[in-house]
């Protein structure tokens, strides 16, 4: 089976600093892959390269955009990548703070809706119908993530855990085939993390979305991931099933070298 996302020898330099070195990584349809590694290993940088926020120095990434189209992601703008069906959340929450939770999700619907300037000014029937449908879809998503009660509240007024879930809801509104989650459980208490775990499992079952997950909470990683990729100093140091990775000496060394509770 061809992978949904196929990253080949991806390298990213920042001036003299090599943040990623020849990374190979594949995510198959409906698969959950975890990307782990100490802070500063280059995980977020990999997300930024995939989503077009950074332009990789070398290497390439290909994405199966449906109908057998295999699209190289190199050189695409972030919004084009999103339109293809890859969407992400941010490690340091980047919601549209002054907009309501519902509007945040509606922004996610933007690339799946069409109404233009004329439709907006004339309030054409099509524009109104589309708007109503988008709002209903968004509301359903909020409900799914336990945010229905916050629909009209400004995003920056939400509790921390709710903001993290809203980020996922907003990303899901773009109808991704691949969802990139950057430390979704960071800052959550154990109960919130369990709740998040349940939501991600449900998401996978209902939408069949593939997930690439960056996470430090090993319980969450071990429970969700079918495949784990470990990076350290921009290099892939191990890869395999959770069982294989757990017992890999290189991984243990990388983690013990940093912090034993990670």
């Amino acid at each position: 089976m061809t992978p949904l996302l196929d990253i080949r020898r991806l390298t990213m330099d920042f001036g003299g600093l090599r943040a990623l070195e020849a990374i190979d990584l594949a995510v198959h349809p409906a698969q959950t892959v975890a990307l782990i590694g100490p802070n500063g290993a280059g995980k977020t940088t990999l997300f930024n390269c995939i989503t077009g926020i950074y332009r990789a120095t070398a290497g390439d990434a290909r994405f199966q955009a449906g109908e057998g189209r295999c699209v190289p992601l190199r050189g695409l703008k972030p919004n084009q990548v999103t339109a293809l069906g890859i969407c992400r959340t941010f490690q340091n929450i980047r919601l549209f703070g002054h907009m309501s939770a519902l509007e945040n999700v509606l922004i996610g619907r933007h690339c799946r809706t069409r109404a233009g300037i004329a439709g907006a000014i004339l309030r054409s029937r099509r524009a109104r119908d589309e708007e109503r449908r988008a709002a209903a879809d968004s509301f359903r998503l909020l409900k799914k993530f336990g945010l229905a009660g916050h629909a009209d509240a400004p995003a920056n007024s939400l509790p921390y855990g709710a903001q993290r879930r809203l980020e996922i809801a907003r990303a899901m509104a773009t109808e991704p085939r691949l969802l990139l989650l950057d430390e979704p459980a960071a800052g959550m208490n154990p109960q919130e993390t369990r709740e998040l775990n349940r939501m991600i499992v449900q998401l996978r079952e209902e939408e069949g979305v593939a997930i690439l997950l960056i996470e430090h909470d090993m319980r969450l990683v071990m429970s969700l991931a079918q495949h784990i990729c470990v990076v350290d100093y921009g290099r892939k140091i191990a890869e395999g099933t959770p069982g294989q990775v757990r017992n890999n000496p290189a991984v243990i060394k990388a983690y013990l070298g940093e912090d034993d509770n990670a």
Binding site: T51, I53, K77, P78, N79, T82, A83, C87, R88, F90, R94, L95, F96, G97, H98, M99, S100, L102, E103, L106, I107, G108, H110, C111, T113, A115, G116, I117, G119, A120, I121, R123, A127, E130, E131, A134, A135, A136, F139, R140, A151, D152, P154, R170, A171, T174
Partner: protein, 409 residues
């Protein structure tokens, strides 16, 4: 902060200020008679005045900082009373009706001159609503906005002069021309943000003015263009006064049109993409918004209102020259948007009326106009950064029962 602490801090500030102003306020050296006068009593005035100012400032700041937490603990319905008033939809209709009646009756109630003043204010309402799209919604700090106003005004004046284009055709042409200039400005500044954007657009505004001032063959230079015809109202023959009243009503209609279109845009898919751009450009792009397109559409749709306002302005003034389009006009319009509350249509309308009519009404302050505006802006930024009227988020209505019926378990 407790009052004792505040008094102490204000006291220290006052002493400091007395010390700083000592050389200019107290010592007076007469170089001709070689005498030095010491005006100690002044020191006391400086100290007392500064102590008071500093104390009031601290008090207000304190109130502002502790304010929200006090309302957080209170139940939601205990919001300040005036907020209740603005939120109450039963009051909204009568208030709008009263405002509509008032604006319809202006030419009957007031003198001819005052009617012209209100016409002016309405022109500012329209162009400020345009700038509000760019600055308030899309968050692009554009300073040379008056350029689009000039494009509209000169567009009408020149088209009329050379091709005898009438006012009514010039109105949409002026809007389109300004939108085109909006795009022209938009392309090169796509990558700029914040202060850089402000500086470049400031330059753009000045370039347009300087071109108008120096390209004599096109714009007749500083002497401007005279004898611009007023709009033709259904072929009626109107005297000067009637023409002004007709232009007033035209402006009322145009203002209503602007409010309608801008509020529809704001609450649409496009308007949301502008706001996302303002909140976080990177996140907006990552969520699938074509930021290039969003920016250009904001520039074009913001500029077109200034163009339209410019056409009416030219027709009303009969005479325009580059002096009408200086940087101060841009700043005034920006003041209106900031003071009104970025993104709030009601706020912008109110602020435009206040900032245009008040200085005329209070002629005594005419010389200090910019000083008063500056002080007002500083106070607003510190104590009410969301502007006079906070942009209210739209509440989306659903029929949850219905969706529960179709989707529910």
């Amino acid at each position: 902060m407790d009052p004792k602490e505040e008094i102490k801090k204000s006291f220290i500030a006052a002493i400091w200020f007395m010390f700083l102003t000592f050389p200019i306020m107290v010592v007076r050296v007469d170089t001709i008679e070689h005498t030095v006068t010491w005006r100690w009593e002044r020191l006391i005035w400086v100290g007392a005045a500064f102590f008071l100012l500093s104390f009031i400032w601290r008090r207000l700041l304190d109130r502002k900082l502790t304010g929200p937490s006090a309302t957080d603990t209170a139940p939601a319905h205990a919001a300040p009373r005036w907020k209740h008033l603005t939120a109450d939809s039963r009051l909204k209709r009568p208030a709008l009706a009263a405002a509509a009646l008032f604006f319809l009756a202006v030419p009957l109630l007031f003198s001819w001159n005052k009617t012209i003043l209100v016409t002016n204010a309405l022109i500012y309402v329209v162009i400020a609503l345009g700038l509000n799209i760019v600055v308030g919604l899309a968050g692009q700090l554009v300073l040379g906005y008056v350029a689009f106003f000039a494009v509209g005004a000169y567009g009408y004046a020149l088209l009329n002069l050379h091709y005898a284009v009438g006012f009514w055709s010039a109105l949409p042409i002026g809007a389109a021309l300004a939108a085109l200039f909006g795009l022209l400005l938009g392309f090169p500044v796509l990558r700029l943000r914040g202060d850089y954007l402000a500086i470049v657009t400031l330059g753009f505004g000045e370039i347009i003015r300087i071109v108008l001032e120096n390209w004599n063959e096109l714009s007749f230079g500083p002497s401007g263009i005279d004898n611009i015809p007023p709009p033709d109202f259904f072929g009626l023959i109107l005297n000067l006064r009637q023409t002004h009243i007709a232009i007033y009503y035209l402006m009322v209609v145009l203002t209503l049109l602007t409010i309608l279109v801008v509020s529809r845009l704001q609450h649409s898919r496009i308007g949301r993409s502008w706001e996302a751009l303002r909140e976080d450009e990177t996140a907006a792009q990552a969520m699938g918004i074509d930021t290039t397109r969003a920016k250009l559409s904001a520039f074009a749709l913001g500029a077109c209102w200034a163009g339209m306002g410019g056409v009416v302005f030219a027709a009303k003034q009969k005479f325009i020259n580059p002096g009408n389009f200086t940087i101060w006009e841009s700043i005034l319009v920006l003041c209106i948007v900031v003071l009104g509350g970025m993104g709030s249509i009601t706020g912008v309308v109110l602020a435009a009326l206040v900032l245009v009519i008040l200085p005329e009404a209070l002629r005594v302050f005419a010389d200090y106009r910019w000083l008063v505006f500056g002080a007002m802006l500083v106070l607003v930024m510190v104590f009410r950064p969301e502007g006079l009227v906070r942009a209210r988020r739209r509440v989306y209505a659903f029929e949850p029962t219905e969706s529960d019926k179709t989707e529910g378990p």
